[in-house]
């Protein structure tokens, strides 16, 4: 494929020729993007793109710049650009991160490798298939189970003091980005494992004092590819961009199954 030059870089180069000023090298980075369309390509390949960046440019900004100016065809999923929607998880220099929540300037390198997240089937380029994650999330029954969960006229709120909220609020922060599942060593081999994302959500509802579904949920996760396949490797919590700390939730949840909590 013919390699285009970014219009801004071209402009710099022309200016440089005219006035002989040195273009500051630090402002240019190369994105090395893994391209793969499983239905068409027999194997994946890496493509390099050079773009100018500023101190607040995020990986997503840079990617969209490439998409706008150098290669329209890059497959990438994105929406909120503020780390709220969980669309843009990918492997950045080898580790799963949100593209919109990673500034180029944090990465300390001028070559940035972008690959799809591990442990999810590739749809195209950086886009991966989430159906398994969504299915596992559904499996753990992520809703309040309580006979009174539908209100009638005149119903007021369940009282819940701030301390009760503290019990589950961090787990409710999960944006379903899947970074945890892509970092987890069990997930690397075991495609039947429910995974840290869903397990943390199981704990989120169990820890909520409005919920009465603990036993049902414990039953679902107490199977051979359930919660026991977590070995507290902690990588899920290491990469979680929202402080959900799935590793904590999972261990606390397992405490119920082992009879240390009730």
């Amino acid at each position: 494929m013919e390699q285009k030059i970014h219009p801004k870089i071209k402009e710099y180069q022309e200016k440089q020729e005219e006035s002989k000023v040195e273009v500051p090298k630090a402002n240019l980075v190369t994105l090395k993007i893994k391209k793969y369309n499983p239905n068409k390509d027999s194997s994946s390949s890496y493509q390099n793109y050079q773009v100018p960046v500023e101190k607040w440019t995020t990986v997503l900004d840079a990617l969209l710049d490439v998409k706008q100016n150098l290669d329209h065809s890059i497959g990438v999923r994105y929406s909120c650009r503020q780390a709220a929607c969980g669309s843009c998880g990918m492997k950045i220099n080898g580790k799963p991160k949100l593209a919109c929540f990673t500034k180029i300037s944090e990465l300390d390198s001028t070559e940035i490798t972008l690959e799809p997240m591990d442990n999810f089937p590739i749809t195209r380029d950086l886009v991966v298939d989430f159906s398994r994650l969504f299915a596992n999330h559904k499996k753990i029954m992520p809703y309040i189970m309580n006979n009174e969960s539908e209100i009638s006229n005149g119903t007021k709120e369940f009282l819940q003091d701030p301390k009760h909220v503290e019990e589950y609020i961090q787990f409710a922060g999960c944006i379903k980005c899947g970074l945890c599942n892509s970092a987890c060593p069990t997930m690397a081999m075991d495609s039947s494992f429910v995974g840290p994302q869903a397990l943390a959500q199981a704990y989120r509802y169990v820890a909520d004092n409005r919920d009465k579904g603990k036993d049902n949920r414990l039953k679902v996760i107490d199977e051979s590819h359930g919660i026991w396949r977590c070995h507290f490797a902690g990588s899920c919590s290491q990469v979680c961009p929202k402080g959900v700390d799935p590793a904590m939730g999972i261990q606390l949840l397992r405490g119920y199954l082992l009879g240390f909590r009730d």
Binding site: P185, M248, G255
Partner: protein
């Protein structure tokens, strides 16, 4: 799906490098568990030679009396100590002790379950495993 699953695979599972000491501990736990199982099977076989009388037993002992045998036993000691110490940490962790208390996370969201206590236990497990190996060497090589 199938080949296109993009699972990280064995290399990913077995790579302790990228994610901090907890992942190293995970890796060591697996290796030492398997190592100990292998040793244990060998050990049961070894002790069974006692049934074949003193000469067979002594022949077996001879093997462990060599330098290689000593190195092997040192490793077993290390594996055993690490696996035990870290195993005790994990039993507590899996039961929900020492993994931190849920609460509002503040940016940049340090994970409470990956806390200093846990890390200290891992380093301690590695440390006493090393000490035990050193002691083993001292005894076996008669220093």
């Amino acid at each position: 799906m199938g080949d296109n699953d993009n699972k990280e695979g064995f290399k990913g599972m077995a790579n302790p490098g990228r994610y901090g000491i907890e992942r190293v501990a995970y890796w060591l736990m697996r290796i030492t568990g398997l190592g100990l199982l292998a040793y244990f099977i060998a050990h049961i076989y070894e002790t069974s030679t006692i049934l074949d009388g003193p000469s067979a037993w002594n022949a077996m002992l001879e093997m462990t009396q060599t330098t290689e045998g000593h190195i092997f036993l040192t490793l077993v000691i290390g594996m055993c100590v690490f696996h035990t110490a870290n195993g005790i940490r994990l039993v507590f962790g899996h039961a929900g002790y020492g993994v931190g208390k849920p609460g509002r996370p503040d940016y940049p969201y340090p994970a409470k379950s990956l806390n200093m206590k846990g890390k200290a236990c891992i380093y301690a497990s590695i440390g006493i495993a090393a000490l035990a190996m050193w002691y083993g060497i001292a005894v076996m090589f008669g220093v």
